[in-house]
């Protein structure tokens, strides 16, 4: 006789064991480690919630302290390797296998541990891809999540930083898994129910806020004139050229400069209402001047941003907010929005090769992907047209019958030819290839594949790869905007001249960009303090960004 309910029975047994440390569902923070030791079994798949923003930090530290004789060989399936504790569980042999998406702050240490063999790596994913696998072959047996508050029934308020939580809980609870939430406080009544209590099995009273990284805050004071020049190129040569209304921005200074040029340079060009009106984007503080100037109609967010909560609350016509008034973010939905409903992704990277592949991996640092490869890819399942999407498709494939021609998402890489510490952006070969060889990976960790990239923007100009008709043209288009890097100086001057005549390469002077406009006075805000002023005092930057 087949037993079809073994998973449910196993979960019930774990819950029963955990009750020894709980008052109803509520567990004191001091008992978190003991709770985890009885509800997690060796070999479990465990999702420890944490991405590039919010962190279930108390539960991460508790897991890193469990007895490895009791809990071992875990398979961690989580968005972010961000806190030291996320890697301590591998050092202490509590966990063995890892499938994840993002590891920015731990990029150096995770590289060492992968090289040293302490971590058996499944794959590095995009967020949406990892979420998808939660429902197919990486379903967690236990999820350790973070929320702002809970009532005694386990109803959770995840608040502005809801982010991954609904997805993690959905995959875990409805497949016989067990959910433990750390909460900042226990309350009689939560401000709104983000996660219904019957999906949550234990609530740990952390008595302190969970950690959130202000990853999307860029100080306008650090934006350079070269970055302003790249931003003007992008606005004129791509946003205006294709009439891009729906988009996502990366987190770099070049795109922050674009945000700050919309109400000044964009206004002067008469582009208000014609570009950049609808966004899949975190609440970037540098977008405040554009919002206040009436450029932006709507923004859906992956997560929140430290200090932006009151501003968002006061701008509910722009942001998605709950009945309590605060932001409701959702990473899975926002990633889906970025994939299917945005016509452009524009972001920075660390290395671009001669075909146009790009990567943020270097020989000693593995930062993972996060969402960029998903944002920065053409959705092959897309079927709705838009002017920008159709125009890009026409440029890529002018001879095909229009009714049978796919459009193309605009996938733009933007940066200066020399990055931080004068490291060239353009390389003959990505470090990601050497890494794949060293770790014996089937796939090199490529952030954006060459066949998805449509444009590369540097201070030297725009390379429109949609218009390239051969491998040679593509390479020379890239070399043609690579400036005075070795790759740039290796260009074929005659071919680059012909590509420029065809508009494959467009220089600032081809787009009527006056180099005298590449000045910091063109930025709508030149400091964090001016962002606060634009917000009418509603934006409250974290202390590390306050210098007044």
């Amino acid at each position: 006789m087949t037993d079809w309910t073994r998973e449910r029975e196993a979960r019930d047994a774990r819950i029963a064991a955990g009750r020894a440390f709980a008052d109803g569902k509520v567990v004191a923070r001091e008992s978190a480690k003991a709770l985890l030791e009885v509800i997690i079994r060796p070999g479990d798949r465990v999702c420890l919630e944490g991405d590039n923003q919010k962190q279930a930090d108390l539960l991460a530290e508790a897991l890193a302290r469990v007895d490895p004789d009791k809990v071992h060989d875990l398979h961690m399936v989580q968005s972010g390797i961000v806190l030291p504790a996320h890697l301590d569980v591998f050092d202490r042999k509590i966990a063995r296998r890892l499938d994840y998406a993002y590891s920015g702050p731990q990029a150096g240490r995770i590289a060492k541990m992968l090289f040293g063999g302490q971590i058996a790596l499944g794959a590095v994913h995009t967020y949406l891809e990892l979420f998808a696998r939660y429902f197919v072959d990486l379903t967690p047996q236990v999820a350790l999540i973070a929320a702002v508050s809970a009532d005694r029934e386990g109803n959770l308020y995840t608040g502005p930083n809801t982010e991954d939580t609904p997805t993690v809980v959905e995959a875990t609870t409805f497949k016989n898994g067990l959910v433990v939430a750390q909460v900042n406080e226990i309350v009689d009544r939560v401000p709104r129910v983000d996660i219904p209590g019957d999906r949550v099995h234990f609530v740990v009273d952390a008595r302190k806020p969970f950690y959130v990284e202000p990853l999307f805050t860029r100080d306008p004071g650090a934006i350079t004139e070269t970055q302003i020049l790249t931003a003007m190129l992008a606005i004129r040569g791509i946003y205006a050229e294709y009439g891009v209304q729906r988009l996502n921005h990366g987190i770099g200074f070049n795109t922050a400069a674009i945000e700050l040029l919309l109400p000044t340079y964009g206004e002067r060009l008469g582009l208000k209402g014609k570009i950049a009106t609808r966004w899949a984007l975190n609440p970037h503080p540098t977008l405040i001047p554009a919002i206040e100037s009436g450029w932006v109609q709507q923004i859906h967010c992956f997560g929140s941003e430290v200090g932006m909560d009151d501003y968002i609350r006061a701008r509910s016509d722009i942001f998605f907010t709950g009945p309590d008034g605060s932001l409701r973010s959702n990473r899975a939905f926002c990633q889906t929005a970025g994939l299917y409903a945005c016509d452009m992704f524009i972001g920075s990277t660390l290395q671009i090769d001669l075909e146009g592949h790009s990567s943020t991996v270097t020989t000693s640092r593995i930062a993972g992907f996060g969402g960029a490869p998903n944002m920065g890819s053409d959705a092959r399942g897309r079927r709705h047209p838009s002017a920008a999407w159709l125009q890009a498709g026409r440029e890529a494939d002018p001879d095909r019958a229009p009714a049978l021609r796919r459009g193309r998402k605009l996938v733009v890489q933007i940066g200066e030819t020399f990055g931080e510490k004068n490291v060239p952006l353009f390389v003959e070969q990505l470090d990601a290839l050497a890494l794949a060889e060293k770790l014996d990976l089937d796939l090199a960790p490529v952030m954006v594949y060459a066949d998805d990239v449509t444009h590369i923007v540097t201070e030297e100009g725009i390379a429109n790869l949609l218009l390239c008709r051969s491998r040679d043209e593509r390479e020379q288009a890239i070399r043609g905007v690579a400036g005075y890097t070795d790759v740039g100086r290796g260009r074929d001057a005659g071919m680059v001249r012909r590509l420029r005549e065809r508009g494959v390469i467009r220089r600032p002077e081809d787009l009527d960009i006056d180099p005298l406009d590449a000045d910091r006075s063109m930025l709508a805000a030149r400091s964090i303090k001016e962002l606060v002023q634009w917000s009418g005092g509603l934006y409250r930057p974290p202390s590390q960004f306050r210098n007044w």
């Binding site: 070269t226 030819t417 020399f418 201070e459 005075y484 100086r489 006056d514």
Partner: protein, 105 residues
């Protein structure tokens, strides 16, 4: 301090009538450019004093592209460089050529 000098033929005379312009600042990673309208209208000279040694070939390439793209005939550029990256150098040269074209600022 390394001194470099490049002489180029320019296609056209630079526009405007201003005799002189200055852009940029002397600072680390930045540069000051003095532009003077003192040469025959088909010539352009760029003289560089730089704290960063051994970048002569990069300077040669940056200056050659600049003259080809902007055709700054009749202008002499004197650069006081604090170790600026090529992108900053190219931008300042372009700004210098633009500034001297504008008769009233």
């Amino acid at each position: 301090m390394e001194r470099l000098s490049f002489l180029h033929k320019a296609e056209r005379r630079a526009g405007g009538r201003r005799p002189m312009a200055i852009v940029g600042v002397v600072a680390s990673g930045n540069l000051e450019v003095l532009v003077e309208r003192v040469l025959p209208s088909t010539e352009c000279v760029v003289e560089i004093a730089t704290t960063a040694h051994g970048f002569g070939e990069v300077w040669r390439a940056v200056v050659a592209d600049f003259v080809e793209r902007r055709s700054p005939g009749g202008l002499k550029f004197s650069i006081n460089d604090g170790g600026a990256r090529p992108d900053t150098v190219a931008l300042r040269l372009a700004q210098g050529a633009r500034t001297i074209e504008i008769d009233t600022l």
